[in-house]
């Protein structure tokens, strides 16, 4: 598995789209910091951009890459290798490459301009989203024969996570505003990895506002070992479940 992973990663590091992704992130980050004099504000905008486009680009990249790699994957499947090892190797390689791109593109400028706890949280959140969205993308790609359809599903998943989920939450709050729904909201939001990542970062940036009102709710959830455990297991589930489905899907797939 590590051999396949190594060479796939070697290939990915020279991949033009991956390099383009790095450059895009680098441009966004440095551009924001250069144009915005106030680093805190730049950080806020940056985290919003990063938390929105990282999942999108990661999903689309993984899906398109899988189809581009398809014939070679077939060739690998003919070698004396376990199918599961191939999927795992591909996952590790593509995640590794995108993580590297993320750290280079966002991490370096962040550490240069705004080193601190908020930046580190943003990096951690972005890395988590990258790992999760690679797994999701791989799952979608493995289970779909048609590339266009897979990209479409990827976009739909992104919209679901980034917009629909929050809209549903808001609707839920409105329709049950007379019931004690409060303790449910944070865990429900934390189920969505993009929301969770956003909360992780915003908890640092918007501390002033959050402490005022939901501070207690947040603290109860994230501050308690149970909440942290729940959040971590949610993230782990978001990574492992799609990955497991992708591995199983590839094992059963007729290539």
């Amino acid at each position: 598995m590590w051999k396949v992973c190594r060479y796939t990663l070697l290939d990915l590091l020279r991949n033009r789209s991956a390099v383009g992704y790095t450059v895009l992130l680098l441009l966004i980050t440095t551009g924001l910091f250069m144009l915005e004099a106030d680093n805190t504000k730049a950080l806020i905008t940056l985290s919003q951009v990063v938390l929105a486009i990282t999942p999108l680009l990661t999903l689309v990249f993984t899906i398109i890459w899988f189809y581009g790699q398809y014939e070679f994957t077939v060739l690998l499947a003919v070698q004396p290798l376990r199918r599961s090892a191939i999927t795992q190797a591909q996952y590790v390689a593509v995640t590794g490459a995108l993580l590297l791109a993320f750290w280079l593109g966002v991490g370096l400028p962040l550490l240069a301009w705004a080193p601190g706890a908020t930046s580190l949280t943003l990096l951690a959140a972005g890395s988590l989203l990258t790992t999760i969205c690679c797994a999701l993308g791989l799952w979608i790609a493995v289970c779909q024969r048609d590339r266009a359809k897979a990209v479409g599903i990827g976009l739909a998943v992104w919209v679901l996570l980034v917009l629909v989920w929050d809209a549903l939450l808001l609707w839920l709050m409105y329709s049950f505003s007379d019931r004690p729904i409060e303790p449910l909201i944070v865990p429900l939001a934390a189920l969505n990895p993009i929301d969770l990542a956003r909360m992780m970062v915003m908890f640092r940036i918007d501390l002033a506002a959050l402490l005022g009102y939901t501070g207690a709710v947040y603290q109860d959830f994230f501050g308690s070992p149970g909440g942290t455990l729940a959040a971590l297991s949610a993230l782990l589930a978001w990574t492992l479940l799609p990955l497991w489905r992708a591995v199983r899907g590839f094992q059963r797939k007729d290539l």
Partner: protein, 245 residues
């Protein structure tokens, strides 16, 4: 002992059986040409053997080992797909090294003769993304033969190659067969089939119609060449089938 044994092999996609009731066996050193109309199930059959497609029913045994979960039987298989794609950003050299990492070298060391014969050594430091289709086929051929496989599966091997390279490749096939490999080749070129094939396995509508030596077919019809003999032979078979009813 037979190297490959198919028994009652069948594959269904949805409700459609693309392969059904295929039972036959191929010996070591045998060159089997697989032919049939488009959509007759050739590719599916080969992919079942390679483990790319999971059979719905029946079994395949390679060297007495059942094709299934254990991937190690594929250590004895060399495969050259119709269109080969490799990671575009690796060099040819890196690709060959990668395959060496993945596969164990056979008893007699790797068979690197084709590298020189097909001129792949000149491409060693080129990016695969910069290679033409024919050049990639050559690399693919090298990989298929390199590990002295017991079973060699070639899918339309000469389709993308220039005439000289095609001849080189076919010579390599004969060399491999003499060394004891069982070779399966899908081909539409009856001339090739007649020249190389110890047997012709003919598929139609997912069923194996026959697996006979080309000479037998020619002899049964009295035609001078396999290309002419095959339609006649198929017609005869159909008649016999009707009579048999």
């Amino acid at each position: 002992m037979d190297r490959i044994v198919f028994s009652g092999l069948g594959k269904r996609y949805g409700r459609q059986w693309v392969l059904r009731g295929v039972s036959t066996a191929f010996a070591a050193g045998e060159v089997v040409m697989v032919a049939g109309p488009n959509g007759s199930g050739k590719t599916t059959w080969i992919k079942c053997l390679l483990g790319l497609v999971h059979a719905t029913e029946g079994t395949i045994a390679v060297n007495g080992r059942c094709v299934g979960r254990d991937p190690m039987y594929r250590a004895g298989i060399g495969y050259m797909p119709q269109y080969a794609e490799f990671p575009r950003e690796l060099t040819v050299d890196q690709l060959l090294r990668m395959m060496n990492d993945i596969r164990e070298a056979p008893a007699g060391g790797t068979d690197d003769r084709l590298i020189g014969e097909l001129g792949v050594d000149a491409l060693a430091h080129k990016r695969i993304g910069a290679l033409s289709g024919g050049m990639r086929q050559k690399v693919s051929a090298v990989l298929a033969f390199r590990y002295r496989p017991e079973v060699l599966v070639l899918d339309e091997p000469t389709a993308g190659l220039d005439p000289v390279s095609a001849t080189t490749l076919l010579a390599a096939v004969q060399r491999a067969a003499r060394a004891g490999s069982t070779v399966l080749i899908t081909s539409h070129i009856m001339e090739e089939v007649q020249r190389l094939g110890d047997r012709l396995a003919y598929l139609q509508d997912g069923r194996l119609r026959f697996a006979l030596p080309p000479d037998t077919i020619i002899g049964a019809t009295g035609e001078p060449a396999l290309a002419l003999a095959l339609p006649t032979f198929l017609a005869q078979q159909a008649e016999q089938h009707v009579e048999g009813l």
